[in-house]
Amino acid sequence: MPYVLAPAAVSSREALVWIGGINENPAGARLELAHPGGTEPLGGAWDRWASRNGQYSLDHRRFPLRGLAPGNAYALELRVNGQARASATVMTLPERLPTAGQRPFTVLLGSCFCVAKDGAGRVGNTFFHLPAGARPDVKILCGDQVYLDSPWTHYLFATHSPEELEAEFFENYFRTWTQRGPASGFQLLLESGANYFASDDHEFWNNAPNKGAYVADTWLPGGSRRWLEVAGGLFRRFQTDATIARFEVSPLSFCIADTRVNRSTDRTQFMTPAELGQVEQWLASLPGPGVLVLGQPVLTGKTGIRGHLGDWGLADFDQYTPLVRALHAARHSIVVLTGDVHFGRVASCRLPLGCDLIEVVSSPMALVDSKAKGKWGPAPALFPVFDIPGVRKVPVRTEDFSSTQDHFLTLEFSAVGGRVRMVVKAWSILGQGGSFAGVVYEAPGGLS
């Protein structure tokens, strides 16, 4: 069975590398991580997850590589008893944003990947064919990297024991994390550059933690608790155990904030108060433009009664109000990166203090079901849509880019004078009927 390398967080001098052995026994073998600077022995403790039925296991660790040089590419190779078993590349962050004429700092944004709907590994193949000048330094996968509640027909008519949930969810992660073919497969994307993950509902079930209309296990509290426990454990192990992650490429700051893991069923909070406090603090103390990653759009209205059947959005939660307040008080441009909605869209507004808020939506990479195909629509005309005391509504402009095809985006950032140039490129997944590849948006005048 396989080993997988997937770079996780990265800074200008360090890289954290996720190393996973699936149904392997790394404790009983000699493992080394080879990189250009030498070879690191991987002795010591592994975090071991094993299914109750004894059929599946994951041994993983997040290994720090230190003493790296800024803005450099490093090839990594995992050797088990001297044999190469997995490889990856990681780019360290540059210390400052590149200037005009240099390769821009590039971020890939994608969401909503259902491995069962990408049998040919097209997402990985599209990534393989990205031209070198457009290849990302880091990737942000902002939700629904797995569809644990798919196919929905399977989960509508039966409930499952914890053993069954473990087996089915693990197999889903296994298929996704090890999907590999010649120049194709999701693993190719995972192993090339740092991955920042945020979860959304399908890391659990549609509309989690509220009842899922077509997930029978979630209709009773005991069932949803079991599901959350198993799915949450695998999310923390395969994807990330951080609900807030940050990094900087001066003067640009990034904050990846999970809005699903700590969501409440009573629609008061989509993150813990402490996490919201961190986001507010981050927004208030930005030294330059900020990029905020959320699991769902902020330029949205309340879902209303449809939320009981579909999925509640951020605006349905009490915490939306303080989030909007914090955004409105921003003293620098804010780019919100998000997914979830099964379409691609760019919309922007000028906040009361004169800074721009630009929301970039990228979804899906591999659509889970043709019945779930997104209906593209412009962003609401005002932000916020509804009255929030003390917050002035500002007009929203929806840009030309619209897509309901499978795709991902890249965002290129470079420093131009005292501002940051941001260019958004869309890449339709090859062989899926889409045919666009190129610039879909450039922030007019740059970010300040």
Partner: protein
């Protein structure tokens, strides 16, 4: 214009040497004299289709002049693998081979018809590339070359409303093959390109202007990096692209 990042280097790669052909020397003889049997082969043709391809690539050049090159392939002795637009032969074989053909260098040897030639080396181990060619040939999911062939045939024939495929992000099939084959060995052929526009000109610019990139990445991306700092030879007999009407000339001679 196609988005191409300019190399920071002021001087061209000295390991890429201009090697003028001797009087009357064919391309095959030029390769034989230089003992070149492997590498990336670039050819610049003067037939109408090649002329149109050379002009199409001007969008990658900052001077907007036509490229020297119209075809890219991978040299293996007296043959090379490519996905050509000319000599397609039996249409039924195109999907079977994913558009990949093994061509004889001798068929591209005549200097008047194919005045420009270069052979470039990006890989430490060309044998691995041969395996990769077989993989691309047998697995259309790696890259759909017939789709690119169709786009480019439409362009060179002026069929319908088709514009320059490079501007739509459709690479030239032979160059896309060369890039995919190197990509499978994790060798980057076009570090300056930020659109999906593989073409001989982009490969040429990499070899000529991106030496330091390859030097840095070859060091930093060890332990198993398969790439090398580009080297090679080139000969340019026709700098300014011109379409030479070979067929009409022949007809005139006959009549």
């Amino acid at each position: 214009m196609i988005s191409v990042r300019q190399s920071p280097e002021a001087k061209g790669n000295r390991q890429l040497q201009h090697e003028p052909p001797q009087p009357g020397e064919t391309n095959s003889q030029w390769l034989a004299r230089l003992k070149q049997r492997e590498g990336v082969l670039l050819i610049g043709g003067s037939a109408l289709a090649h002329f149109r391809i050379r002009v199409a690539q001007s969008h990658l050049r900052k001077d907007l002049l036509p490229s020297f090159w119209s075809l890219a392939g991978i040299l293996d002795g007296d043959r090379f693998s490519t996905a050509p637009l000319d000599g397609l032969g039996d249409a039924s074989l195109v999907p079977l081979n994913n558009g990949v053909q093994t061509c004889r260098v001798a068929d591209y040897s005549e200097p008047e018809r194919y005045p420009n030639i270069a052979v470039l080396h990006f890989a430490k181990d060309p044998a691995a590339l041969r395996e990769n060619i077989k993989r691309v040939q047998s697995d259309r999911s790696i890259i759909d070359l017939p789709a690119l062939i169709l786009e480019w045939l439409g362009f060179v024939w002026g069929a319908g409303q088709r514009g320059n495929p490079l501007l739509q992000g459709h690479g030239l099939p032979g160059a896309a093959l060369v890039e995919a084959v190197h990509g499978l060995s994790r060798i980057e052929l076009t570090p300056g390109l930020s659109s999906a526009s593989s073409c001989p000109e982009a490969i040429w610019q990499s070899a000529k202007w991106w030496r330091s990139y390859y030097q840095e990445t070859a060091g930093a991306t060890a332990p198993t990096h398969a790439g090398a700092v580009p080297s090679g030879y080139y000969a340019i007999r026709q700098e300014a692209a011109a379409a030479v009407e070979h067929e009409r000339k022949k007809r005139r001679v006959k009549s």
